[in-house]
Symmetry: C2
Subunit: 339 residues, 2 copies
DNA sequence: AACGCTAATCTAAACGTTTCGATCGTGTCA
DNA sequence: TGACACGATCGAAACGTTTAGATTAGCGTT
């Protein structure tokens, strides 16, 4: 900028005024300055600007896994929204690990991001402190956090799973296996509640033998399914509360010599673009990824636009059961409803 | 930092020296300073540091689509690598659009990223100028760029497709449809060359009717496949040069009332985690995503470590044909090789 | 006792912006 | 004609660091 000012024989203040339109500068000088900018190929240094202005026009976004199509879709939508608003996005993967998450958040804060969207992992961590400091606005995505009072976008997980399990029950299933991730994160907790609620509503018992834990990876789904299917009285249906794990479930069913949906019905959380066309076509709970991403972006953009003191807003969106052919009717019902 | 210095009754220079270990500071002052840092909860401002140091320890990464699992996987690996090295990653999606890409790159450069990894789109743009300026190191990923001479990691696309098409030919297929993206980007060009080469090697003609263009989206694959299959002499096999389009291909096959592999064999580029278990199990060309990501990261990290003047390094990796059951033997061969 | 050496610490300039307040013509009005 | 307002421009401080070079104190040598 100094060089531009010299070349145009004006002060840096005038150059800045012209660039930002913060003061009127005469047509004559404007011309000279613009010429100098072109000649020199000047580009404003955003770092210096950030330092002075105290804002980076950058937000931080952390997700547990970037290879999970659900997060990918949401990230994509958020990206586009902030892109339109002239913000850059720093994306971090926390790998479902609390320490990593804390580290990433610290990194982002050090870099003076203007806001944070967090699909958090685990319980605790530095998140609460950051939200309470209220210095940078935080939006929680997909996963709420007890004691952390800030803008939030979540799914009505309990209801979504309730619907899915009820669907299975209506098909005649009585022993329904359930594969969950750690209850540390709210969706897993709420989804489990949906499972229980549906069973209760149908007068069915919640059997510990039918619930298995996994850590969000394909291999965990595989192991959990193996355990479920090795039981003497194996479940006739399995619901996977998390999408990467369902691949493992399908592999386990195959490896054990069974097939879906003939021997075992399967449904899971999160939809896939290919679910419609490959067999079995998975029955899934589809999340409104577009809406989730947009709402999260809007909440944060609103805070960034200056609306700092509004009370925390909690948005709850509805999932949608996508019925396909991976669940088969059982018993008497099979006669009439078979595909 | 000023506050810390005052609280510890030392100069800011001493605080800086302690934090960075750039000079020895007495145990006594160290103690006082550390105490003050804790009391105040001081965090070094990375922006101010960047301004002074001329380095942000942040790199820019642009990909055409973040929802494409191939890029997702690669991004994930790159992320981890830079994470380990203490760098942050700014991820941008260019949406397969040259203008967007130029804008994103400018944005990243304004923010003083230390390096750039680009899975570029289209031809031309500002990329060449940036590489030639040699101010910030650039690594090209997945897609080379004529006239842009810099570090590159690509697949041997021609060979990979040659192998896949040859496999189809060996199964007895003679009319093989081919769905490609725009030749603006090198992989599409090279993959097409592999298609031609394989046909030539087998003494088969390259028929224009069998080649269709799409723009990397599912719907493009759908339309292209519809056209291919509506021909009077329809192909017995279809190869999709790009992974999102293959979903469209499968949908078109279904919608037109045919099935895979009975009526039409299908193979495509890029592997999926679910290919192993859903039917038909797609025969694919798997890219070594882990290696691609790691190599790209290493190339850039090496430049960032100071190795600036080494001549551009071009890495070419090999794809691997994953044979599953989406392609069926045709004619005489069918007798012996049928699954 | 004067000197030099070393280690510890500090002062102040710099990085590239933005912005407040000052300055300087110029034209208007009483 | 003098006072005044106004528009255009500028000088300089500030943002929070790093760092070169200055300063100081302590200590062993001669």
């Amino acid at each position: 900028m100094l060089h531009v000012a010299e070349a145009a024989r004006v002060s840096v203040a005038t150059v800045s005024a012209l660039i930002n339109g913060t003061a009127t500068v005469s047509p004559e000088l404007s011309l000279r300055i613009e010429q100098a900018i072109r000649d020199i190929g000047y580009k404003r240094n955003a770092i210096a600007r950030s330092l002075k202005m105290g804002t980076t026009r950058t937000i931080g976004l952390t997700v547990p896994h970037i290879t999970n199509p659900f997060f990918t879709d949401v990230v994509s939508v958020i990206q586009q929204a902030f892109d339109r608003a002239g913000y850059a996005v720093m994306l971090c993967c926390t790998d479902e690990d609390l320490n990593t998450q804390d580290e990433q958040i610290r990194l982002l804060l050090d870099r003076m991001v203007d806001g944070l969207i967090v699909a958090r992992v685990g319980g605790g961590g530095i998140l609460k402190g950051i939200v309470d400091d209220a210095n940078v606005p935080v939006v929680l995505l997909d996963r709420v956090c007890e004691g952390v009072d800030t803008d939030t976008v979540v799914l009505d997980n309990q209801r979504a799973v309730f619907d899915a399990i009820t669907y299975l029950i209506n098909l005649g299933h009585r022993r329904i296996g359930y594969i969950t991730g750690s209850f540390d994160i709210s969706p897993m907790h709420d989804r489990m509640a949906g499972y229980r609620e549906a069973l209760h509503a149908a007068g069915l018992p919640v059997e510990n033998d039918l619930v298995r834990f996994g850590n969000f990876h394909e291999v965990d789904g595989y192991n959990a399914t193996m355990q479920l299917l090795s039981q003497h009285d194996r479940p006739s249906a399995i619901f996977s509360a998390n999408n990467p794990m369902v691949i493992g479930t399908m592999k386990a069913i195959r490896d054990i010599g069974l097939s879906c949906p003939e021997d075992v019905s399967v449904a899971c959380f999160d939809d896939f673009p290919w679910s419609d066309v490959f067999q079995p076509q998975l029955t899934t709970v589809a999340q409104p990824v577009q809406a989730i991403g947009e709402q999260a972006a809007n909440l944060l953009l609103d805070r960034l636009a200056g609306n700092r003191d509004a009370p925390p807003r909690k948005l709850t969106l509805k999932g949608r059961l996508m019925i396909r052919n991976s669940c088969r009717p059982l018993g008497a019902i099979a006669q009439t409803a078979s595909v």
